[in-house]
């Protein structure tokens, strides 16, 4: 017989109370684990995107607007410039200081056209540079081999009822659908993608480039610096590192995380209060028992140890069940939070932390009840005998 045998036997006897306590603590821990698992999955989702096109830079024409204000009140912006790039100017891209870091330069032309009675967005690209850049594109069919072949986005193909091998008249020319782009969940799904110069001709934008995508050679090269040098070179362009755009999303994840911590703190406080109240009640109920322990020679520390060991067991069970429950909830609600998002997986260090936190809370909430129980004067406790 050791003190922990007494604790375990008592917990077994008071199953209802233990379940109640474990549920209270477990709920708190599950809330934290759910919120943190979701933010982790969101972060993972963003990191995936960074991995995909983290080294890419997009250059689009700047649309300047001037803020108008009367007496300090902004009344809106006035657009006064929105120009596209001239194809011949793009050579300047390779003249910046860090040009050795530049990889592929993929110019594109964009424009709307009437196709089979519907307004569709056309994109002209240089397939030779575009396809190696878009490693996440999956094509049904073969990559276009000539200027008269097209790739049709999944959504566009469905709307226009197009299949591989179909022909499609655009402007004065007729094109063949060489491949259907499998759904990406992004804007490409609604596009018809063709050869750059053929699309410039269809759209009447010869020599015009709407946007340029630039892939940097290295993953860790100074993208921010590249962006600034390109901006300096092309004052009329808005240059954005896709990493920057993706990282901007991180801001909302961070906000969600901060909010989660707040909620978690509150839930944990309530959980601790529950443990405190229940343990106080248990100590009062056990006055007689504590009297017997003290009478047969248990020190105050021994009585505290019995109560605190119970708190450790309850804390562990609460932490463990909360961790399991939290992961289950996160796994089941994640598709609602991030469409097409994948569950980041079970994070065992978070599990260890959750269990430690639960034990620490249970212990701290039980310290005063344990102290109160152990300080019972044996003669007072014996009066209850």
């Amino acid at each position: 017989m050791k003190l922990y045998n007494i604790s375990c036997n008592n917990l077994r006897r008071r199953k209802g109370k233990v379940i109640f306590l474990v549920l209270g603590l477990g709920l708190g821990i599950a809330t934290i684990v759910t919120l943190l698992s979701i933010t982790e999955s969101m972060t993972r989702d963003i990191e995936d995107r960074l991995d995909r096109f983290g080294a890419n830079i997009v250059m689009v024409p700047k649309s300047e607007n001037l803020a108008l204000s009367y007496g300090g009140i902004t009344v809106g912006g006035v657009n006064y410039a929105a120009q596209e790039f001239a194809e011949k100017d793009l050579a300047g891209i390779r003249e910046i200081e860090n040009r050795e870091n530049l990889g592929t330069v993929a110019p594109k032309v964009l424009g709307a056209a009437q196709v089979m009675g519907r307004q569709v967005l056309l994109m002209g690209v240089d397939f030779a540079v575009e396809l190696p850049l878009k490693i996440w594109w999956h094509l049904d069919g073969t990559a276009p081999a000539g200027a008269d072949e097209l790739i049709v986005g999944d959504e566009a193909a469905e709307i226009l009822d197009l299949a591989i091998g179909n022909t499609l008249p655009l402007g004065q020319r007729t094109f063949t659908v060489a491949a259907i782009l499998q759904a990406t969940g992004a804007a490409e799904d609604g596009l018809i993608i063709g050869d750059l110069h053929a699309m410039q001709e269809v759209l009447g934008k010869e020599g015009i480039i709407s946007l340029v995508e630039i892939a940097a050679f290295c993953r860790d090269c100074p993208i921010t610096e590249l962006v600034l040098q390109l901006s300096e070179k092309f004052p009329g362009a808005k240059v954005t590192a896709l990493r920057q755009a993706v990282m901007a999303k991180m801001q909302s994840v961070e906000l969600f995380k901060a909010f989660s911590y707040g909620i978690a703190g509150l839930v944990i406080f309530i959980g601790s209060l529950l443990v405190f109240v229940t343990m106080m009640g248990a100590v009062n109920e056990r006055t007689r028992e504590i009297g017997i322990f003290r009478a047969i020679g248990f020190r105050r520390g021994h009585v505290m140890q019995i109560i605190l060991l119970e708190a450790i067991v309850v804390g562990f069970l609460g932490g463990f069940s909360g961790f399991v429950g939290g992961n289950l909830i996160a796994w089941s609600v994640l598709p609602l939070v991030i469409p097409k998002g994948t569950f980041a997986g079970v994070n065992f260090s978070l599990g260890a932390l959750a269990i430690l936190l639960s034990i620490a809370l249970s212990l701290l909430a039980s310290l005063y009840p344990a102290r109160k129980g152990s300080s019972l004067d044996p003669s007072e406790a014996l009066r209850a005998l």
Partner: protein, 230 residues
């Protein structure tokens, strides 16, 4: 640290003790003035009506209830001069207590109840088991080791309480009305067991209001209104 030369060499010396309780503005004396000694190996019965102060006296003797005045010396230790933790150790080392109405822990089996005082001694599990089973045999309950207290009769519960009190081999056994809730036949069996333990060297102080139980004791101290009469 409180040791005093025990000049008379008595195991227990009660010196001018008194115990008062404050009830509102009034002071009630449960023990007014008591002075007596108990020798090693004696079987003493303390007899008196209810409210005479005999249970309070037992609690004072067991280091459970601080007297308002006087001294309790056990094996030359001034029990109430010890710190609270030393007093807990004193109870563990010197005292076995049989409570009125047994006071067994309901969620522990008979064997576990008996092992309870050993939970804080550092004795190995195997040794604990041997010691507990040995005392259980001694009180005649060897076959009921795994029962819960509420599955036992009153007499059996009393025997478990005795086994728990003696398992740590304390030199002194304090018994509060050990036969109070038993029929005469069972009570007689319990008294015979106590007598047997006394013969083996245990000093027993038994509180009772039953004159028949006193016949088993070497000496009887009569208590009335918080005073020792004899």
């Amino acid at each position: 640290m409180q040791t005093k030369e025990n000049t008379g060499r008595h195991l227990i010396e009660i010196r001018d003790i008194g115990k008062d309780y404050q009830t509102g503005a009034n002071t009630v004396s449960a023990i007014r003035h008591m002075n007596f000694q108990v020798d090693d190996g004696e079987f003493i019965s303390i007899m008196g009506q209810s409210g005479s102060g005999k249970s309070t006296l037992l609690a004072v003797l067991g280091g459970l209830n601080h007297p308002s005045r006087g001294q309790v010396l056990v094996d030359s230790l001034d029990v109430y001069g010890l710190t609270s933790e030393q007093r807990a150790d004193f109870r563990s080392e010197y005292i076995g207590i049989i409570f009125q109405s047994f006071q067994l822990i309901p969620y522990l089996t008979v064997l576990e109840n008996i092992k309870l005082p050993m939970a804080i001694t550092g004795i190995t599990a195997k040794k604990q088991d041997e010691m507990a089973r040995s005392v259980l045999e001694k009180v005649g309950l060897g076959a009921k080791a795994e029962r819960l207290p509420d599955q036992l009769s009153g007499g059996e519960q009393e025997r478990v309480a005795i086994a728990r009190a003696i398992v740590n081999r304390p030199p002194i056994l304090l018994a509060d009305e050990p036969t109070g809730s038993l029929d005469s036949e069972t009570a007689e069996g319990v008294m015979a067991l106590l007598r047997q333990l006394n013969k083996e060297g245990l000093t027993i102080i038994m509180v009772t209001h039953n004159p028949d139980a006193c016949h088993h004791a070497d000496r009887t101290i009569l208590v009335r209104d918080g005073l020792c009469l004899s």
